[in-house]
Structures are given as structure tokens and as C-alpha cells.
């Protein structure tokens, strides 16, 4: 695999991701134009016809839809989805004047660090627990320990995150008063949400590590190494793990994406100021520009992770054809 091929591969995948992003966001654009008049939503029952018209002009709703769509696409390229008249506006409408407005982009970008922290802590925690657990189970197949790990990891996969989160809050925040119920800022705040989010990735990654390692351990080179007296756990942790890394990396990537969708619910439960909670807020108040901005950022993050996983996959497996 030459570096030239890698560059071509990245370029092709990037173009495909951008096309998909444009298709998805165009669907969002069309859909958003059919949920009612955004200007009317801002004004509510108040405001005269002149106010409405002025606001519609300000929001660009009086332009032909093709012009609006062009502006939308240009906005996507510059990450700018216009101004919101609803989110975080204390005085939505003063009679006779136009409502206040805020740019959506800073609102959405402000939320990214919190989501990034939560997602990274969750995934790091999951990998740190799942990797040793899966290897430990794989080197003693069909024993009681292996069965236990199997059932526990299935329980992790089946967890109802937000319910588990509430149970955690009830236990550790309300009853024991060890940790804060919600909020953001200190390390103590991240423990409960990360714990709630990490059980599913732990379960999935453990399962995939276990099965990939089982396949790998059955190979002749492992038997040969064992014949020379090297302990199985050592072979597993050093040689087999490296060869089994492809499905494991792919699964970690998939789970990162799942966590990014998982934060939509968990951030809402914990009052975590991330992009997920913002998305729910934007949908609940039907704030069109903010909905577009948050969905755009979420889809963009997911596509980027997909791209990274594809790339790692190609790097890890020399047999893969970069097609």
C-alpha cells in the first residue's frame, strides 16, 4: 500500500461523506420548511401582519426557495445557519419592534467541548475495562468465568441507559450524596453520565474482543508458541491481540458513534451542557436554525469518525483493497 493510494482513498471517502452530508442536510432543509412558518412561530399569537412581514424579510423567508436553498448550502460550507430568534432569548418579542436574535453557530460550538469530554471519557473507560475482560474470557473458554463475562456483557448491551442513569442518581447522588446529581465542571460531574453511557460499549467491545481472540487463539502460530512454553495469556495480550485488532477497532468506532447518539438522551438526564441536550432543546422549542446547526454538527461528527475508522481499517489490514 503506497501513500499515494492512501491519499486517493481518503479523498474518495471524503467526497462521498460530503455528498452524503449535503443529501442529509437538504432533506432537513426541505423538512424544516414544512413544519409551519418559522416567523409565525417566533411571534406566537402576538404581532401585526407588518411585524410578521418584517420578520419574514429578516429571516429571508420571502425569497424564492431556490435562493433560500442556495443560502442554506453556502451556510453549510461556512458552518453558519443564520440567527435564532428563540433559543436563549429572554424577551422574544417587544410590540412594535423586531425580536432580539443570536447567531446559532456560537451557541452550538459552545456545546462541543462538553460532549467531547463525555464521549472521550466514556470510550476510554469502556476500552480500559472491555479489553482485559474480553482477553481474560477468551483464554479460558467455556469456563464459569467465561460464561459470567458473556452474560454480564450481554446485560451491558441490554442496558437502558437513561434508566440506569436515574438509578445511579438515586443511589449515589440522592441517597449517598457522594456525587452531584447533574451539572458540569468538575471531574465528579462526569462520573455518573460516563458510567451510564459506558455499559453498552463495554458489553459490545468485550464480546467482540472475546470472539476475535478466540478465533485468533485457534491459529497454528499460537499453538506453536504455547508449545515453546510461552503462557497463553502472554501470547494473547501481545501477539494475538495485534492480529485481532481489526474487528476491535471497527467496533470501538461504531460504539463511539453510538455514544454520540446516546448523549442525546443522557445529556438531557444529567443537564450536561453538550450538543445532545441542545438538540433536544432546539427540537422542543421548534427552533429551525438551531435544529439545522445541531443536526449538522452531529452528522458531521459521525461522518468524521466513520472516515477515521475506514482509514484505520485500511492501515491495519494490508490485504484490504482501498476501493
Amino acid at each position: 500500500m503506497t501513500s499515494n493510494m492512501v491519499v486517493q482513498f481518503i479523498a474518495r471517502r471524503t467526497v462521498a461523506s460530503i455528498i452524503l452530508l449535503v443529501v442529509v442536510m437538504s432533506a432537513v432543509f426541505v423538512a424544516d420548511r414544512n413544519i409551519g412558518d418559522p416567523a409565525r412561530m417566533v411571534l406566537g399569537d402576538t404581532g401585526t401582519e407588518e411585524d410578521l412581514l418584517e420578520l419574514r424579510l429578516r429571516m429571508g423567508l420571502e425569497d424564492p426557495w431556490l435562493v433560500q436553498y442556495g443560502r442554506f448550502l453556502a451556510g453549510m460550507a461556512t458552518f453558519n445557519f443564520g440567527e435564532t430568534f428563540r433559543y436563549g432569548i429572554s424577551k422574544p418579542f417587544a410590540h412594535g419592534g423586531l425580536p432580539e436574535s443570536r447567531e446559532t453557530l456560537p451557541i452550538a460550538l459552545d456545546r462541543l467541548p462538553a460532549t467531547f469530554v463525555l464521549t472521550s471519557v466514556t470510550i476510554a473507560l469502556s476500552v480500559l475495562i472491555a479489553l482485559p475482560l474480553g482477553i481474560w474470557a477468551a483464554v479460558r473458554p467455556r469456563t464459569l468465568g467465561d460464561r459470567l463475562v458473556n452474560v454480564l456483557s450481554l446485560a451491558g448491551v441490554s442496558i437502558v441507559e437513561y434508566w440506569f442513569a436515574l438509578i445511579l442518581i438515586l443511589l449515589f447522588a440522592v441517597r449517598l450524596d457522594w456525587l452531584p446529581t447533574s451539572g458540569y465542571g468538575t471531574a465528579a460531574h462526569v462520573i455518573l453520565p460516563a458510567l451510564a453511557l459506558s455499559l453498552r460499549p463495554i458489553g459490545r467491545i468485550t464480546q467482540i474482543v472475546r470472539s476475535a481472540m478466540l478465533d485468533e487463539i485457534a491459529k497454528p502460530y499460537v499453538t506453536a508458541a504455547r508449545g515453546r512454553g510461552i503462557p497463553l495469556s502472554r501470547i494473547a495480550a501481545i501477539h494475538a491481540l495485534k492480529n485481532a485488532s481489526i474487528p476491535i477497532v471497527t467496533t470501538i468506532g461504531d460504539e463511539t458513534i453510538n455514544v454520540i447518539t446516546g448523549v442525546i438522551i443522557i445529556e438531557t438526564v444529567f443537564g450536561w451542557p453538550g450538543i445532545g441536550a441542545l438538540t433536544v432543546d432546539a427540537l422542543k422549542i421548534r427552533d429551525v436554525p438551531l435544529i439545522e446547526a445541531t443536526i449538522f454538527l452531529l452528522v458531521l461528527m459521525v461522518l468524521c469518525i466513520n472516515l477515521i475508522v475506514d482509514l484505520l481499517y485500511a492501515v491495519l489490514n494490508p490485504r484490504v483493497k482501498l476501493g
Partner: protein, 306 residues
Amino acid sequence: MAAEVAAGEERQARISGRDLVRALMREPMALLAVLFLFCLALAALFADWIAPYDPLMPNIFSGRLPPLSEAKGMTGDIQFHILGTDALGRDMLTRLLYGAQASVSVGVIAVAASGTIGTVLGLIAGYYGGRIETFIMRTVDGVMAVPSLLVALFVLFLIGGGLFNMILIFTFVRWVVYARLARGITLSYRESSFVEAARAIGARDSRIIFRHILPNMISPLLVLATLEVALLILAEAGLSFLGFGLQPPAPSWGLMVARGREYLREAWWMITFPGLAIFLTTLSLNLLANWLRTITDPLQRWRWLI
């Protein structure tokens, strides 16, 4: 001779009901899962008959009663609440049973619909190849690249929640997983000798696809469908919890957790039981899928046949 061998393989390949029961007896966890799912299916089907009280009618005499308490009903009779009552005095057990109805119908109907559509499209893509395959698989890649939960959330926001809309959107986002599986398996059989043979004696394409290729993918499809039911039951509950799925006063497990959240400090039973119901259901489905995968894998069959 060859025919005898083939007949012998045929006998081995068939799994009889008795073999299944025997295999199930060896796996206590799988057995428990199947029993739980069986009870759940009965509860969902016969909720109207077995539920002790009305799932929707509020009762001012029995708000937020802990499990195992008695209260006066609206008509003056004495009601016994095994699992307690919710904020509006409705019996938790009754609402859990009706919640099972919602979860099971969303899960099963959406999986049946998406599974059928996805499998057929995957078979077509794999069998015919060419431009039709490119079109179908590009669509699959596109739908797969965007997280299902996000799409479902946005579409339900647009068209409103409710049982039918949820089934609709789940079908739309999940058919792709079956299409990918069906196409992959079809590709591996397309050039095989039994398909060649069927073609040689003049079998029509539809016959080859549905009578010769499809039966070879029933087991993996079954495993996938079981996992998908679990996934969709979780998704239904999650979206309802957020307020975008089933709408109150409908009895949905996710909604019950959401309502219970408001009384987290005072009434632990209001979130514990519905959450446990969702968890046990998905756990059972995952255990079942795990077990199905083992017994339908020819390489591992020796483990339970001997």
C-alpha cells in the same frame, strides 16, 4: 452412495423441535430468556384480560402508593396494587402490561416490515448485480452512515409521535441491515453449483432466489431479527422517554420512566419497574439471539447434538 450421503446431511441439517428443547435445557440462561419472552408475549396479547385495572383512568384516592398497598377505587371498591401506583393513581402492573403491548408491537411489526423489505432488496441486489445492486447498496451505505436514533428523533419531531409513525420510521431506517446481510450471503451462493443446477433445469429467477438461496440465510436473518427487536424496543422506550415517541396518556415503558423521573426521590417504584421491564426484555432477546447463533452455527453444532 452420493445420494445417501446427501440424505444423511439433510437429516443432520434439520433441527427438530425435540433437539431444540434439549439444547435449551442445557443453557439455563437461554431457557429463562425464552420463558420470560413467552410470558411477555402472553402479557402483550392478553393485556385486556389479565390486567387488573384500567390503564388510563386516574384515581384520586391512590396517587403514588408504594408496592403492596390497598386503596379505594373510584367506584368505591377496594383495589390492591402489587407494584404500587403512579402519580395519577393508576396501577403500575396494569400499565406495565399495556406497555408490553406497545413495546412488543413496535418491535415485532417494525422488524417484520424492515426485515421483509431489506431481505428482498438484498436478494435482488446480490442476485442481479450491476446497476441495480449499485443503486441499492449506495442507498444502504447512505442510510447506515447516519445514526438511526437521530433520524428517528428528527422525523418523529416532524410527523409527530405515536405507534404507527414509530413503526414507519423504524422500518425506514433499519431495512438496510437485512439488505446488507442478504446481499452478502446471496453473493456467496450466486455462482454455487446448486444455483447453477436450478438454472440449468430452467428455474425462474424468482424460484431460485426464494426457494434455493433464501432458505440458506434463514438462521442468520433470525439472529439479526432478534437483535433488532431488542434494539427497536430500546429505541421506542428512549424516544418516548424524550417525549418524541408515544404520547401520554398511552402506557409506554419509556414514558413511565420519564414520568417517574419527576418523583425520583419520593417514589422509587415509579421508575424501577418500567426500567426493569425494558432491561429484562432486551436482555432476554440478546440472550436468545446469542443462543440461536450458537445452535444454528454448523461448526458449533456438536456441542449440543452429542
